[in-house]
Every structure is written in structure tokens, then in C-alpha cells.
Amino acid sequence: QQQVKQSPQSLIVQKGGIPIINCAYENTAFDYFPWYQQFPGKGPALLIAIRPDVSEKKEGRFTISFNKSAKQFSLHIMDSQPGDSATYFCAAILGYNFNKFYFGSGTKLNVKP
């Protein structure tokens, strides 16, 4: 059973558009939610992360929105560029076992010029 459910599986947007990637979880013991970007043949790289006591966090063109009551969080990429084309993974970490990441299944983003 997947602990973190991610959608959509793939996403195509035009340059300048705002792709939105969604994740949902059930376990309320999760207390740290990072997002990773992965290019083909490379390892994931941390983009941005949020804790559940915050509803929104921005870093550059990347924004996480967090809805604790709905147990959902999402990544928004403002003014998307072709160089943003990659696979994006959300993840969650348990507060009592903070060594173990649970990753979503990934969203492959294609930003067209």
C-alpha cells in the first residue's frame, strides 16, 4: 500500500504555464514533506520542503501549498521553463522514524517551448 499518492502521472504545459502536482497521505504521523526533482540518469535533488504547521512555502519559482485537514499538499511551478522538464517526487517522513522517506510514484513534467 502506497503511503503517499501522487498525481498526475504525467503533465504537459506550455512555457510560462503553472504546472501543479498533487500528493495525498493518510498517516497523520508524517511531519516533514519534501519535494525532489530528478533528471534522467541523475539522482533526485531536493527542491523545497514544508512542515505541516505551515500552509505555504515559496522558494524562487517553486511553491508548496499544504492542507493539513485534507492531508494533501501540492507543488506549483511558476513561470515554468523547458529546463524544468523532469520527474518530480513528493515525499513524507514520519515524526517518530525520521530516517525513512516515503516517496510518491512521481510526475513526469514536460514544459514545451
Partner: protein, 115 residues
């Protein structure tokens, strides 16, 4: 080097052979993680080391999988009697602090193909 280094980048083995995958974490990083990433899926946690101590191996799929970090730096993931379902990318990550809610720096992985 500046980042996490994994070797080999690609490994092809016949079913039943043993393989060993190496991870060189960033110098001085205390925490080291191994993940398995199947094609088109997110990474799945295998095991975690704090220095030389293996504190969590709950993600290892079977007793054919074994990981070590004897001196608290380089780590090796060994898979014995490989099976086709072991084909995946194996990722290593390290962190300067204890615990997962710190930035993890990933290597580029070893792509393992079992024939």
C-alpha cells in the same frame, strides 16, 4: 569529489550471481541511506546508517540483501543470488546530520540489470 559517488554506474549480471554496489558519501556525512528505484517509480527506502551503525534495515526486501559501512564512510550494498526482480536503479544518499528531515544528497545511482 563534491557529491555522492556511486559505482559502477551500470551493472549487468546473470540470475544467481552475487553483486556489490559501492557508495562514497560526501566526506564527513554522518547519515547514509540506500534506496531502490524501479522503472517509473519513486525511490523505496532500503536501509539507513548512522556512521558505521546500521540503525534501520526494515526496507531490505529479503535476506539476499546486505549492506555495510564498516568505517562509517564508504558503504557497500550486496545482493546475493540475484533475481530478475532485483533489476532497478539503486540510489545512495547522505546527509550531514542525523535523521531524515535534513537535506539528503543523492548519488546518480547504479542501474542493475539481471538477465
Amino acid at each position: 569529489g563534491a557529491g555522492v559517488s556511486q559505482s559502477p554506474r551500470y551493472k549487468v549480471a546473470k540470475r544467481g550471481q552475487d553483486v556489490a554496489l559501492r557508495c562514497d558519501p560526501i566526506s564527513g556525512h554522518v547519515s547514509l541511506f540506500w534506496y531502490q528505484q524501479a522503472l517509473g517509480q519513486g525511490p523505496e527506502f532500503l536501509t539507513y546508517f548512522q556512521n558505521e551503525a546500521q540503525l534501520d534495515k526494515s526496507g531490505l526486501p529479503s535476506d539476499r540483501f546486505f549492506a555495510e559501512r564498516p568505517e562509517g564512510s564508504v558503504s557497500t550494498l550486496k545482493i546475493q543470488r540475484t533475481q530478475q526482480e532485483d533489476s532497478a536503479v539503486y540510489l545512495c544518499a547522505s546527509s550531514s546530520r542525523i535523521g531524515g528531515n535534513q537535506p539528503q544528497h543523492f548519488g546518480d545511482g547504479t542501474r542493475l540489470s539481471i538477465l
